[in-house]
């Protein structure tokens, strides 16, 4: 029997398997990201890094709802200057690193991306979709703005650039195409859905920021639809993200058109073993269905 390979190639990156942590999940320190890699991830993704340190929103910053989690962390991060030290530690370990980043202006986007890029990350992920920060969140629904930011960043970095899209738009293919035209090497789909949780006893919103982003299984059907639509609209590869909890979810995303995967909320429900679980399940699925490589699954459901 032929050997089953979990390794993938995406936008020039060679990864031992297609499963990463999602941005903002355990990505604040080198030590935690190293652990994510040791637990079996194919690459690690950092917290979204901005120009200046940010404390984020006051607690409560998370609320559980049926099938998911709403968070409004408010992009806490130590700022790019500080974070270069963490990247150095990570890169010393030879771990493939995708650096997520954001800015509040176009210049900030470019500056943060350049510095991360010089620090030797393997790829960049442009977060233009965080629904929680004024001046940044809006970017995600304006194709023109997405194209401009992507272009500006691509002009200054020589690393593969993924643009992470927001599902809170009328037509995600329009944004996807804008990013592609701007020179993105790949797309991450998707960030969280804007949502709210209320307490009927406190008679008020639970999150200090009032609204937040819905992640987890409740997000999955919408995120999967986004991947499906984007796959039909662009040529560049897609990293699927949203509610992936089991290997079955992973296979669904691959069949819908994702070439790689990110896992966030499932680390709450399954723990860090989720990376090994998904990879084991993927391997079995490939074997039982007569496939040899993950790439054979990508987009397969579009052919039916």
């Amino acid at each position: 029997m032929a050997e089953i390979r979990l390794a993938i190639e995406i936008a020039g990156l060679n990864l031992r398997n297609p499963v990463m942590n999602a941005a903002g999940i355990l990505g604040l320190t080198a030590d935690l990201l190293r652990r994510v890699y040791e637990e079996g991830a194919g690459a690690v993704v950092t917290k979204s890094i901005g120009l200046k340190p940010r404390m984020g929103h006051p607690n409560p910053t998370v609320a559980i709802v049926e099938g998911g989690l709403i968070n409004a962390m408010g992009l806490p991060n130590p700022g790019v200057e500080y974070f270069l030290g963490e990247l150095e530690k990570l890169k010393a370990g030879g771990i493939p690193v995708v650096a997520s980043f954001f800015g509040e202006t176009l210049d900030e986007f470019v500056e943060v991306a350049s510095r991360l890029s010089e620090a030797g990350v393997d790829a960049l992920e442009l977060n233009c979709s965080c629904p929680n920060v004024e001046g940044v969140g809006i970017l995600g629904s304006d194709p023109g703005a997405v194209k401009r930011v992507t272009e500006a960043v691509k002009g200054c970095v020589d690393k593969p650039l993924f643009v992470k899209l927001s599902p809170n738009v009328s037509d995600i293919t329009e944004i996807a195409r804008a990013a592609e035209r701007g020179g993105a090497d790949g797309l991450t789909a998707v960030n969280t859905l804007r949502a709210i949780a209320l307490s009927i006893e406190a008679r008020r919103p639970i999150l200090s920021n009032v609204t937040g982003g819905l992640s987890g299984p409740a997000l999955k059907p919408v995120a999967l639809r986004c991947v499906w639509e984007i796959y039909e609209a662009v040529e560049i590869p897609i990293i699927g993200c949203g509610g992936i909890t089991t290997w079955r979810d992973a296979v669904e995303y691959l069949l819908a058109g994702a070439s790689a995967l990110q896992v966030g909320t499932a680390i709450m429900t399954r723990g860090l073993r989720v990376f090994r679980e998904i990879n084991m399940g993927l391997r079995n699925y490939l074997e039982e269905n007569g496939f040899r490589e993950v790439s054979e699954l990508v987009g397969l459901a579009h052919e039916s």
Partner: protein, 272 residues
């Protein structure tokens, strides 16, 4: 069907049954909650008095009733200590890994509000037939928490240490602990209190080849192991902790007792 909203991680409202002032600015808030009833000693909950922030608090009573014991140090803890019977708080949890029972004759050391998770641990140990000895430390005799209750439970196995010598041993509890460790034949060490105290005890236990568990505090946001803000080395205090054993502590010696992350994720020196 409401699977997720029944999870421990979900917010729920509880009413305060009564409040007991333990010392100046330190109060115990009692409430009833099905999930907290089944917590392990050492686990904590996130407590949100609507209108203020949400903060982590150890469970100081585990059983038919649950409680937290809050020291007023800032806006939210002050708000909590100002609440009274019938007031509503939102909680989620219990979270994290609590204490694991080891040995037959453990030595426990509690400093300040660090006694909060130690009290239910003592109760658990006694109910399992272990023979715990506790050193209860505080700055002054007035700040010794749960003194009567612990005396009733432990009798002569309760030792006191105060910084000002107003009761019991005069000086840091960790120093007194070293003395007891040399005298008695203890087979395990547990501690909760200021991190410098716990670091001293860790070294004392290591030197003597004794297993140790301590309960750490770090800045927490999500408390569900996702955001990474409570990181210490490769661990999340909210999920892999808050109770750390010697093996885990050995991997974080550059941070334990020395540094912690601020809410933005920058490592800063610990000052207590």
């Amino acid at each position: 069907m409401s699977d997720w909203r029944m999870r421990a991680e979900a917010h729920r409202a509880v009413r305060i049954l009564r409040v007991v002032e333990e010392a100046e600015g330190v109060s115990t808030l009692y409430f009833g909650d099905a999930l907290c009833r089944k917590a392990q000693p050492g686990q904590f909950i996130m407590v949100w008095p609507p209108g203020a922030e949400e903060v982590p608090m150890s469970l100081s009573t585990i059983g038919g009733e649950s409680s937290i014991t809050v020291k007023a140090v800032g806006p939210t803890s002050r708000r909590l200590t100002s609440l009274g019977e019938g007031d509503l708080i939102m909680i989620r949890g219990p979270f994290g890994r609590g204490f694991t029972l080891m040995g037959e004759k453990p030595l426990l050391v509690a400093g300040g509000t660090g006694v909060a998770p130690i009290k239910p641990l003592v109760e658990e140990m006694l109910s399992r037939g272990l023979k715990p000895t506790l050193i209860l430390g505080a700055r002054t005799k007035d700040r010794l928490l749960f003194l009567n209750r612990l005396r009733r439970l432990l009798g002569s196995k309760l030792h006191i240490a105060t910084d000002d010598g107003s009761l019991g041993f005069s000086g840091p509890a960790s120093k007194y602990a070293e003395r007891l460790l040399d005298e008695g034949c203890f087979d395990a060490v547990y501690a909760c209190g200021p991190e410098a105290m716990m670091a001293a005890l860790y070294r004392a236990a290591e030197r003597r080849g004794l297993p140790i568990q301590v309960s750490l505090e770090r800045y927490m946001k999500c408390a569900i192991g996702l955001c990474g803000s409570c990181a210490i080395g490769p661990y999340r205090v909210c999920r892999d902790g808050p109770v750390f054993n010697g093996e885990m502590l050995r991997r974080v010696l550059d941070e334990f007792g020395r540094r912690r992350l601020d809410p933005s994720g920058r490592s800063t020196p610990l000052e207590e």
